[in-house]
């Protein structure tokens, strides 16, 4: 049996969850109408009042909220509670341009931390666990979220925050951390450093890792798992909704369970806004169900995924979203072809190259160019020019069959691509359009 934080909710029969969602949904719409003038105006534009929304079946009638709305309403325009009721502000890293500032009441903090506690439990966490939180602390939600979740669960929490990698490894070893929380690119970096220090998985007590805040591939997961001798769990969230923990993986590692008692998830066609049937790939849209300070109705995440209610062996009944294919923001259109960095990463790892890479896109004579910079490793290097050339050509072939276009592969010296302690910068787009 799986390890749960709140079994009664996490394994609640689907119909019961629907009932609970329905009840909370009507209240949340009413809350947005009464307390968020910005959203009331959007509903009025569509000629809607809360009386038109009789159940979850009417969800599709409601207007979307987008990043642009967040920007227009910045900083206080989407608040559902006065500032005196709020206890916390968190903010995004601003990787996609505009910074998001989100507000929390004590209740909002509590439900967020509850979701994180469920995520840590799903990774095997208990009162006996030692959880090292190597996400950044501060405005970024990663550190505070997992920290709070670990406290709720009663685990011993090591708030190392990110950076100072040798010290991270020392703490893992000396203080017997069993669960590591950080971004996948930082986990890969810590793993690489451990290897350099001559450590093997047997030298560290870690059993599990909870890695999120950026898209990563299945092959990168297997790589990290092998280097550290752990099971690696994906976790997903957005600052706008609370932070990490919106959905999380169980031991089955087949998609992340969305906390359906706190959110309704939909998949839409990003071009038309049309709702897609279960199983289709499209843009993920969330409606919060229990937020006081920052309620969001039909918020478009720009993340590309699909949903399934298929029975999960772990016993959790909450809907699962598949591993993120990428954010619509991460998607590159190169010579008319959609390219996600995670696809390139998959090819690299499958062929034995490190997951640290850089994608440089440019436009020469009106044609897009794609240059993938990959670090040479001792494993991939030999004295034979022909063999190194062949491996490079194989990589170009692999990328061509994955992406459907020809990329240039540049082999660079080790450590020349900057390591990231937070979100990795994979793409440099020099096109001036």
């Amino acid at each position: 049996m799986s390890n749960y934080y709140q079994p009664e909710i996490e394994t609640m029969p689907h119909e019961k969850i629907r009932e609970l969602q329905n009840e909370k949904f009507l209240k949340q719409v009413r809350h947005a109408w009464d307390d968020v003038p910005y959203y009331r105006a959007k509903m009025q534009e569509k000629g809607l009042t809360p009386d038109d929304i009789k159940s979850m079946d009417d969800l599709h009638k409601l207007p979307f909220l987008t990043k642009a709305d967040l920007r227009n309403a910045y900083p206080y325009g989407l608040m559902g509670r006065p500032l005196k009721d709020c206890v916390r502000i968190q903010s995004t890293s601003g990787t996609t341009g505009q910074r998001v500032v989100a507000f929390y009441t004590q209740h909002d903090i509590h439900i967020w931390e509850t979701m994180c506690a469920r995520a840590i439990a799903a990774a095997g966490g208990t009162k006996d666990s030692v959880v090292q939180v190597s996400y950044g602390y501060g405005l970024f939600t990663g550190g505070p979220g997992l920290n709070g979740g670990s406290h709720l669960l009663g685990s011993l929490t090591i708030p190392t925050s990110s950076g100072n990698t040798d010290r991270q490894i020392m703490f893992i070893k000396d203080l017997s951390a069993t669960i590591l929380c950080c971004t996948p690119s930082y986990a890969a970096f810590i793993g690489e450093r451990m290897k350099e220090m001559g450590m093997t998985p047997d030298d560290i007590p870690l059993k599990a890792g909870i890695f999120g805040a950026e898209a990563w591939s299945e092959s990168m997961r297997r790589d990290i798992e092998a280097t550290m001798g752990i099971k690696a769990y994906d976790i997903y969230g957005l600052t706008e909704l609370c932070g990490p923990g919106v959905s999380f993986e169980c031991e089955d590692q087949h998609g992340m369970h969305i906390n359906e008692d706190y959110f309704i998830a939909e998949i839409i066609n990003p071009e038309t806004g049309e709702i897609l049937p279960e199983g289709s790939t499209g843009e993920l849209v969330f409606t919060t169900l229990d937020k006081e300070a920052f309620p969001l109705i039909r918020y478009r995440t720009r993340d590309i995924t699909s949903l399934t209610h298929e029975k999960c062996p772990c016993g959790r009944t909450h809907v699962r979203m598949t591993r993120l294919k990428g954010r619509t923001d991460d998607m590159l259109i190169i010579r008319g072809v959609n390219v996600f960095p995670s696809q390139i990463e998959t090819v690299l790892i499958n062929q034995g190259y490190p997951a640290n890479y850089q994608i440089i896109v440019d436009r020469v004579n009106n044609t897009d160019t794609l240059d993938v910079r990959v670090e040479m490793t001792p494993e991939m290097f030999t004295d034979n020019l022909g063999v190194v050339n062949q491996r490079q050509a194989k990589l170009v072939d692999g990328l061509r069959s994955m992406l459907g276009l020809t990329a240039k592969v540049t082999l660079v010296a080790p450590k020349t691509i900057t390591r990231s302690e937070g979100k990795a910068v994979r793409v440099i787009d020099n096109r001036k359009i």
């Binding site: 040479m376 490793t377 001792p378 290097f381 030999t382 004295d383 034979n384 020019l385 190194v388 050339n389 490079q392 540049t410 082999l411 660079v412 010296a413 080790p414 450590k415 020349t416």
Partner: protein, 144 residues
């Protein structure tokens, strides 16, 4: 009998080779021979040095990727046809040569020295020795 060659990966950019020679100079490494193979993208430098493992450490610390390869070092009489004679022996023995290059001897030496990267060092060595060609070990090479 074979000797160790160190091969180093270099990016094809101005200063890359100098970065490597500087690391070797700072590490007080004495080079016996060097050969460079390159494509438009990258290069591979092959080195024969006095201290193989010291060199590997120095390069690693300076952030270079390198690898060790067993190669055959041959003393070639410094006379017309000297190299031809060695190749005849290897050819007759069916040895495939991937690449070869000359290295420095000392000023007074009456021989030239060649490094051969072959598919089978042991077979090459026995063919050469039975044909009366002198091949060199690591210590002899370092003593040059």
């Amino acid at each position: 009998m074979s000797v160790k060659q160190i091969s180093v990966f270099l990016e094809n950019r101005p200063g890359a080779l100098h970065d490597m020679t500087k690391a070797l100079a700072d590490g007080n490494i004495d080079m016996r021979g060097l050969s460079l193979a390159e494509t438009s993208d990258f290069g591979i430098v092959r080195l024969i040095v006095d201290d193989v493992f010291g060199t590997a450490e120095v390069l690693k610390d300076a952030g270079f990727v390198s690898s060790l390869t067993d190669v055959t070092a041959v003393e070639v009489p410094n006379v017309p046809g000297g190299l031809n004679r060695v190749l005849e022996v290897l050819d007759a023995a069916g040895i495939n040569i991937e690449y070869m290059y000359a290295i420095l001897g000392n000023k007074k030496s009456e021989s030239a020295y060649m490094i051969f990267r072959v598919d089978d060092n042991a077979k090459a060595a026995s063919a050469l020795v039975s044909a009366g060609v002198k091949i060199m070990g690591q210590e002899e090479l370092s003593a040059l």
